[in-house]
């Protein structure tokens, strides 16, 4: 809390030793809006140079967390550091890029002018602006529209512009809050490539996304939040160590399916039931049990647990 009071201070550049510090570190970061708890003691560490996925259902506190880290909101309690400096430190913001979930840019400016504005505010040396802007526009595929007014852009193009703004100045840490929410499949693919490019040059990426397949493809590490607190975190391998088993079956009523819950959490989609975490050795036992309950098995497909399986399982465990 005390750190946020420094919001209005421009401090000296971070000491050289800060390079060894995590990109993000939070300790019991909490936020209340009146009686509503938006974030209840967020503690996590995001190493430098990694792509970090931040997952959670709507209202879990993901965007609130990003805004707290960027100093746009003030925490009710707890502490946090970005690139080794307390949150709210203005100088640290020179080294950060941010694409908000609610992205909107000056419609009366051209794409190039919006990026020049961000270069000026960053602030980047004026001699580098042209190269920075040209490179950012090229990266997000807006070179052809560089001199067009932003008011003529589609939502997807505005999101691309926001991404370009976040890339200016080779930031050490980039926050992307639902970066593909307005993009078509081609755009999503492009964004994945951009994130991979950032990771390859050592930029830490904090990715808020509902698209679990995207997160699974991109992230080195994830944290799952629900009701304002982290319910699981770790590397992708640590989180997805189990096996999921999809069974196509007919003839099971609700009571029979309830009996099968002894095999772990299941995702019931009618004739298709997915056991989100089940050891492969127990598959014969599961099939026997289904047959004994009168079910007719058409397909049994064990596979590695996906992030979606794990995500649903975690939320289900939370509900219980």
């Amino acid at each position: 809390m005390a750190d946020v009071k420094k919001e209005e201070t421009r401090t000296a550049p971070a000491p050289a030793g800060a390079a060894g510090t995590p990109a993000i570190k939070t300790v019991n970061l909490s936020k209340r809006f009146g009686r509503t708890v938006a974030l209840a003691g967020l503690s996590m560490t995001v190493p430098r140079g990694e792509v970090f996925g931040f997952l959670g259902p709507n209202g879990a506190g993901k965007t609130t967390s990003v805004k707290l880290l960027l100093g746009l909101l003030k925490p009710t309690s707890g502490e946090a550091w970005l690139l080794g400096r307390p949150i709210g430190d203005l100088n640290t913001r020179r080294r950060i890029g941010y694409l908000p979930e609610l992205f909107r840019y000056q419609g009366w400016l051209s794409a190039r002018e919006v990026l020049a504005l961000h270069c000026e505010l960053a602030p980047l040396p004026r001699s580098s602006w042209n190269d920075e802007i040209t490179s950012a526009l090229d990266t997000v595929g807006l070179t052809d529209r560089a001199n067009d007014r932003v008011s003529t852009f589609s939502k997807g193009m505005q999101q691309r512009l926001g991404l370009a703004a976040a890339l200016l100045g080779e930031p050490e840490l980039v926050f992307l809050d639902e970066p593909t929410s307005a993009l078509d499949p081609v755009g999503r693919h492009d964004v994945r490539e951009i994130i991979r490019g950032l990771a390859s040059r050592g930029t830490a990426v904090f990715l808020n996304s509902h698209l679990l397949s995207e997160v699974e493809q991109l992230c080195d590490r994830v944290a799952v939040v629900d009701h304002g607190r982290v319910i699981a975190s770790g590397t992708m391998d640590e989180l997805l160590s189990g096996t999921a088993v999809k069974v196509r079956v007919e003839g099971l009523d609700a009571a029979a399916k309830a009996t099968l819950s002894s095999f772990g959490d299941l995702d019931d989609e009618g004739d298709q039931i997915t056991f989100t975490r089940l050891e492969a050795e127990r598959v014969p036992e599961l099939v026997s049990a289904i047959v004994a309950l009168g079910g007719r098995v058409f397909e049994v497909a064990p596979r590695h647990q996906t992030l979606e399986d794990r995500f649903l399982q975690l939320l289900d465990e939370e509900e219980k």
Partner: protein, 287 residues
């Protein structure tokens, strides 16, 4: 360029690209043209014996008409300032436009001061430009110039700045429409309260007179407007007003004395207080 000036430039650029400046210039030129024609008609008025009005009488009529025209200009400036300042911050918070900017090394105080500065420059230019054009037109049409044109610009410009500052303060917390409407209503109430104060002066009723005094302290627009009136009145007219006593003081379009120095000092303090409140309000707002 310092961030505060970047924001100021952006504010000017926005009003320019949205064609607000162009619209104001065109409307002003139309008003100046019509008023020049109207003022010129005063010189063609004849007495019952067919002789033209003496120069002193033309000057007197022109000065009174110019006060009414200036009231319109100050109204346009006040309305424009309130309407533009009302959504200045709130609309950008609501749309999310400020999110990516505030994630840069940009203080919120720099956003507030920068936006104020940008609009203040426009108000100053409008006040000076419209006054220059109007006075040149009146001079051409009648040969009359008011005694204190520079003070006139300063008072009318300051009135616009008061509305800008109030609108900006409201904009840090309220939606654009709400803030703009409140600022406009406050401006009108301030003027009405000034008229009520005048009536109190005419009736020599201290309680009613205090309504005007208090309103001038809370929102100094009317007090500044009185300064503009004083700057427009020729000495001969002032002498007539002074001779008429308290009755002359009960007129919202006449002013016997210039605003006291203590009031002008209060206006300076008022700006400092309102801007400080705006910065505090925006700094503590969660977006």
């Amino acid at each position: 360029m310092p961030p505060v000036l970047v924001i100021a430039r952006l504010t000017v650029q926005e009003t320019s690209r949205r064609r607000l400046i162009l619209a104001l210039i065109i409307l002003t030129l139309i008003v100046v043209g019509f008023s020049a024609w109207g003022f010129n008609k005063i010189t063609t008025v004849t007495r019952s014996d067919g002789t033209p009005l003496p120069a002193q009488q033309v000057a007197l009529i022109t000065s009174q008409l110019l006060i009414v025209v200036t009231f319109m200009y100050s109204g346009v400036l006040a309305l424009s300032a309130a309407v533009v300042a009302g959504p200045l911050i709130s609309s950008e918070v609501e749309s999310g436009m400020l999110l990516s900017m505030l994630a840069r090394p940009l203080r919120r105080s720099e956003v507030v001061i920068g936006k104020w500065l940008g609009l203040a420059v426009l108000i100053a230019f409008y006040a000076a430009g419209s006054a220059f054009l109007e006075l040149v037109a009146v001079d051409w049409a009648t040969g009359y110039l008011p005694p204190h044109p520079v003070q006139l610009v300063l008072y009318v410009g300051a009135e616009g700045l008061v509305l800008l500052s109030l609108g900006l303060l409201l904009s840090t917390r309220l939606s654009g429409i709400t803030g703009g409407v409140i600022a406009l209503v406050a401006w009108l109430m301030g003027w009405i309260a000034g008229v009520v104060g005048d009536i109190g002066t005419g009736l020599q009723n201290q309680a009613i007179e205090n309504v005007g005094v208090i309103s001038h302290l809370v929102l100094p627009t009317d007090g500044l407007w009185r300064g503009a009136i004083y700057a427009l009145e020729p000495d001969a007219f002032l002498a007539t007003l002074r001779a008429a006593g308290t009755v002359a003081r009960a007129n919202p379009f006449a002013q016997v004395d210039p605003p006291p120095t203590s009031f002008l000092a209060w206006v300076a303090l008022w700006f400092a207080i309102v801007l400080a409140l705006s910065i505090w309000s925006f700094r503590t707002r969660e977006i």
